[in-house]
C-alpha cells in the first residue's frame, strides 16, 4: 500500500535509516491514504517500522512535522508549476494556469488545505510559490501596492482552493419534499434550488461543480485585478 512502508520484516537485522525527508514523505502518504486525523506520531512511526520516540530525532515535535509536510507539498506545487514552463498569454492567463496547476496538486492531497491554514510559520516553498505569482503580476505591470492587495485578495485561492461553506462536497440537493419543509425558514435558498433544478434537471446529483465554481470565483478576482491594473 504505502511504498514508504518498506519496514524491516519481524526478524530482520537492519532496517532502513530514518531521515527528516523520509519521515515527512511517510507523513504525506499516511495523510493521503488514511486521512489527516490518522497522522499521529505513533502511527507514523509504525508505518516507518520504528518507535514513536525515534521520530523526535528528525523532527522537533508534531508542529515541526506539519510545517515540514506543508513545505513538502509546497515543493510538489512548485515542481508541477515549473514542469512545462508557462509561456504565452497575458499575466492573467499565466496566473490562471499556474493557480489551476497548484489546485491539481492540492486535489491529490485533500487534507492539505486545512493543514496549510493551520500553519503560522512561513514555508520556504510556499514563499517561493508566492514570489513566482508576484513576478507574474509584476510582468503584467502591477505596482507593488496593487500586487500586495492582489495577493491578499486572492488569499488561499492563489493555491487553488477556497473554503466551501454550505455544500458538503458531492452532496445531493434536498428532495422536493425536503424543499417544501424548508421553504418557510429559508425562502430564498429554496427558491434558488427550485430554479436550478428546473433549469437543469441533471443537477439532481451533486449540483455543485466544485471545479467550475472555483474557476468562476478565480476569474472574477483576476478580471477585477486586471481592470484595476490600468488605474493604479
Amino acid at each position: 500500500m504505502i511504498d514508504v512502508t518498506t519496514q524491516a520484516s519481524p526478524g530482520s537485522e537492519s532496517r532502513i535509516r530514518l531521515s527528516r525527508e523520509r519521515v515527512l514523505r511517510a507523513a504525506v502518504a499516511v495523510a493521503d491514504e488514511r486521512g489527516i486525523e490518522s497522522l499521529t506520531m505513533r502511527r507514523l512511526a509504525e508505518v516507518l517500522g520504528a518507535e514513536a520516540m525515534s521520530l523526535y530525532y528528525h523532527v522537533s515535535n508534531k508542529d515541526d512535522l506539519l510545517d515540514g509536510v506543508v513545505d513538502l507539498v509546497g515543493r510538489e506545487i512548485n515542481e508541477a508549476v515549473a514542469d512545462p514552463p508557462v509561456t504565452g498569454g497575458g499575466w492573467k492567463d499565466i496566473a490562471r494556469r499556474r493557480i489551476l496547476t497548484a489546485r491539481e496538486v492540492l486535489l491529490r492531497h485533500r487534507w492539505a488545505p486545512a493543514v496549510f491554514e493551520s500553519r503560522t510559520a512561513a514555508s520556504p516553498e510556499v514563499l517561493r510559490y508566492l514570489d513566482g505569482l508576484l513576478g507574474i503580476m509584476r510582468g503584467g505591470g502591477f505596482s507593488s501596492d496593487l500586487a500586495h492587495h492582489a495577493m491578499h485578495a486572492l488569499g488561499s485561492r492563489a493555491f487553488g482552493f477556497t473554503q466551501e461553506l454550505f455544500t458538503p462536497a458531492g452532496a445531493a440537493p434536498p428532495s422536493p419534499d425536503a424543499l417544501d419543509h424548508m421553504a418557510a425558514q429559508l425562502p430564498n435558498l429554496v427558491a434558488m434550488l427550485r430554479d436550478i433544478s428546473h433549469d437543469d434537471p441533471d443537477s439532481t446529483l451533486g449540483w455543485c461543480d466544485d471545479q467550475a465554481e472555483f474557476e468562476f470565483g478565480l476569474d472574477l478576482v483576476l478580471d477585477g485585478l486586471d481592470r484595476l491594473r490600468g488605474t493604479r
Copy 2:
C-alpha cells in the same frame, strides 16, 4: 472572569442545572478567553462546576458541541445583522454592510472561523444568514444561477473572513538586513516589500491592514458580481 462560571462553592448544596444552551454558552466563553485549544470536555465541565461526563447528557459528543457552538455564533451574527435593519442603497451596499457586520462578530470570536470551516453539518443559523444574503441578491435582480455562483465566489468572505496565508497577523515586516538576505531566493517579494516601505515608512510596524485588505477583496468580488448582474 467567565460569567458563566457561576459554579457552586465547594460546600454548597445545589448548583445551577446544566442545559444545552448553558453548555454551549460556556464553550464560547472558554474559547474566547483561553483559546479554542483549551476547549476540552474536561475543562468545560470544570468551568461549569460539573463533571466531564455530565456534558454528555446535553451534547452527544464533542462534534455535536462544536456544531452547537457554530450555531450559537451564527445566531449572534443574525442578531447583529438584524439589529439596525439595513435600508437604503443598492444590493451591493446592503450586502457590503451586512458582511462587514458579520465580520465584527467574528472578530470577537477569533477562533470561530477555523471552527466554522471544520464543520460539515449545516447550521440552521448559518443557513438563515445565507438565505438573507441570497434575498439581498434577489432584490438586486440576480438570477438564481448567478446568485448560486455568487455564493460560491464569496465563500467564507460572506461571513466576513478570509484565510490570511503569508502574514502572521500583526507581524512586523522583515528588517532591511533580512530583506538583503532573502533577495536572492525571493526577488519579487523583496522588491515589493522594499517599495512598500519606501512609499510608506510608517508601515514598518505591522504593514498589513487586515480590515483594509478584507474590504479591498470584498469590493473586488462585489463589483465583479454587480457587473455580471447586467449580463446574465
